[in-house]
């Protein structure tokens, strides 16, 4: 019998605000956090949230992660330390790039001929595992602590890492998620020359005139627990990671494999793992970057995995209102998916007035949609794909 893995806590910082509540409420109200071609957490002040001293020693991606983790652990009702043996609580946080702001600041010193001034805090601030390390220190998590660095699927793979640790019996709970703050001119230039960033500054995934994604910053953290552990302590259960599928294209470093075979396999694996079929899916939170290639290939892959049933499954992309959070995307979008199920209301593709006809018949959401208020849990998929050919599908039940 495989251990069930439930979600007892969620926390997020996004351009829609600090907390999971604005993330859901604003998204289903059709609001976007994108301003002037970027999706920044403008109201977020690390020093105010964490204290000046703490903030000084942290890159912004870590500040975002710590505040998201604080909310997640509060939601879960954890105290200063975990409610289970802390050595059985891993912490895995994905980040595609890590502390880019720190890296750029310190490299500038070298350019200015000030090598002696390079901060000794540089590596502790920029290393991709810093977010997980700081969360573990703050909350006394003594199981395995690591980053998953797999571009834009890292946040989703961090969730998978937590599920595996709990299912295997190695862990009783896990704190997992993703964090990113890499929205600099440098990053924008890279994704522009790579042809992935939206030159128009407006990103409408799955539209006929889509022209790329918008850079976003933020963090999402989830508390996962073995179901029996959560039930024994009387925790409030928000949902369940019912299944996952992780595959690789083994094709190209940036372009998705055109048949979508590997992405489709991630989806069918996740469904089988959840003991579900395509008829059970109430919603798909797409990877939906808004690049021409991603969106077209994602639809091909979904159709391949789910057959005709795909055409009547409501689908939308959080990147239409959050931008692309790179290594944080998978975690934040898993939270958005969970919230959509819990509140029985699906966020639309912000700005979409009609789906690209070349994508064929779909149920792409141009407006928020209420789900039936029926009893019993619903199932949704959250897709994440990453440069490198990484494909992750999470089957979330709530």
């Amino acid at each position: 019998m495989v251990r069930r893995v439930v979600i007892t806590g969620i926390g997020a910082v996004t351009s829609l605000g600090v907390g999971v509540q604005p993330l859901h409420e604003k998204s289903v109200a059709g609001q976007s956090g994108i301003r002037n071609g970027k999706s920044l957490c403008t109201g977020f002040d690390g020093a105010k949230e964490l204290g000046r001293r703490k903030a000084f020693r942290l890159d912004r991606f870590c500040q975002l992660a710590l505040v998201a983790a604080r909310e997640a652990l509060e939601t879960a009702g954890w105290g200063e330390t975990p409610p289970v043996d802390p050595y059985r609580v891993p912490c895995v946080i994905g980040s595609a790039i890590g502390g880019l702001i720190t890296l750029e600041e310190e490299i500038e010193k070298i350019r200015q001929g000030e090598a002696d001034d390079v901060s000794p805090l540089t590596v502790p601030k920029l290393m991709a595992n810093a977010a997980a390390a700081h969360i573990s220190m703050r909350h006394g998590l003594k199981g395995e602590v690591a980053a998953i660095v797999s571009a834009c699927s890292g946040g989703a793979q961090a969730i998978v890492a937590g599920v595996r640790a709990i299912r295997s019996g190695e862990a009783d709970a896990a704190v997992v998620g993703g964090a990113e703050a890499a929205t600099s001119d440098f990053t924008a230039a890279i994704f522009t020359t790579a042809g992935a960033l939206s030159p128009s500054g407006r990103t409408v995934p799955f539209s006929a005139d889509r022209d790329g994604f918008i850079l976003g910053e933020g963090a999402g953290v989830l508390v996962l627990e073995a179901a029996e552990v959560a039930e024994a302590r009387g925790a409030s259960i928000l949902g369940e990671i019912a299944g996952y599928g992780v595959t690789s294209d083994a094709h190209h470093i940036t372009a998705p494999e055109p048949t979508g075979a590997a992405a489709a396999r991630a989806v069918t694996t996740a469904l089988a793992d959840a003991g579900a079929g395509e008829e059970d899916i109430a919603y798909i939170n797409a990877h939906g970057t808004g690049t021409h290639l991603n969106d077209a290939t994602e639809i091909v892959a979904m159709r391949r995995a789910l057959g005709e049933r795909f055409e009547s499954i409501p689908i939308s992309s959080s990147k239409s209102y959050l931008g692309h959070l790179l290594g944080a995307a998978g975690a934040v979008e898993a939270i958005a998916t969970l919230q959509a199920l819990r509140h029985r209301e699906l966020p639309p593709v912000c700005g979409l007035s009609g789906a690209d006809p070349e994508l064929g018949q779909t149920d792409l959401l141009c407006a928020p949609r209420k789900l039936p208020e029926e009893e019993g849990a619903l199932l949704a998929l959250s897709n994440s794909f990453g440069f490198g050919g990484h494909n992750v599908a999470l089957a979330i039940r709530a």
């Binding site: 020093a47 204290g51 000046r52 001293r53 000084f56 000030e114 901060s119 805090l121």
Partner: protein
Amino acid sequence: MKDIATSLDKDNVLSFLTDLILDMGVEQNEFNADATLEDLGLDSLDVVELAQGVKKKLRIAIAPGDFADAVTLGDAVERVLQKAAA
């Protein structure tokens, strides 16, 4: 720059180090010359930053190791003055 170094005294070095430490996010109400670096929450990485600040802004060649036996902020002021006079 020599002028800055020769015009240094305990008060202005203490004030300078205080500003550097404030920039590191330590709260001001924790300060006095008797405060230990440990009390202020400074670790070995912060001491390196302190030495970098002194070197850059006061043009005094001081290495992090020069603060090795500095227990209090007052001790750190003394080390800076010794280096400035050397």
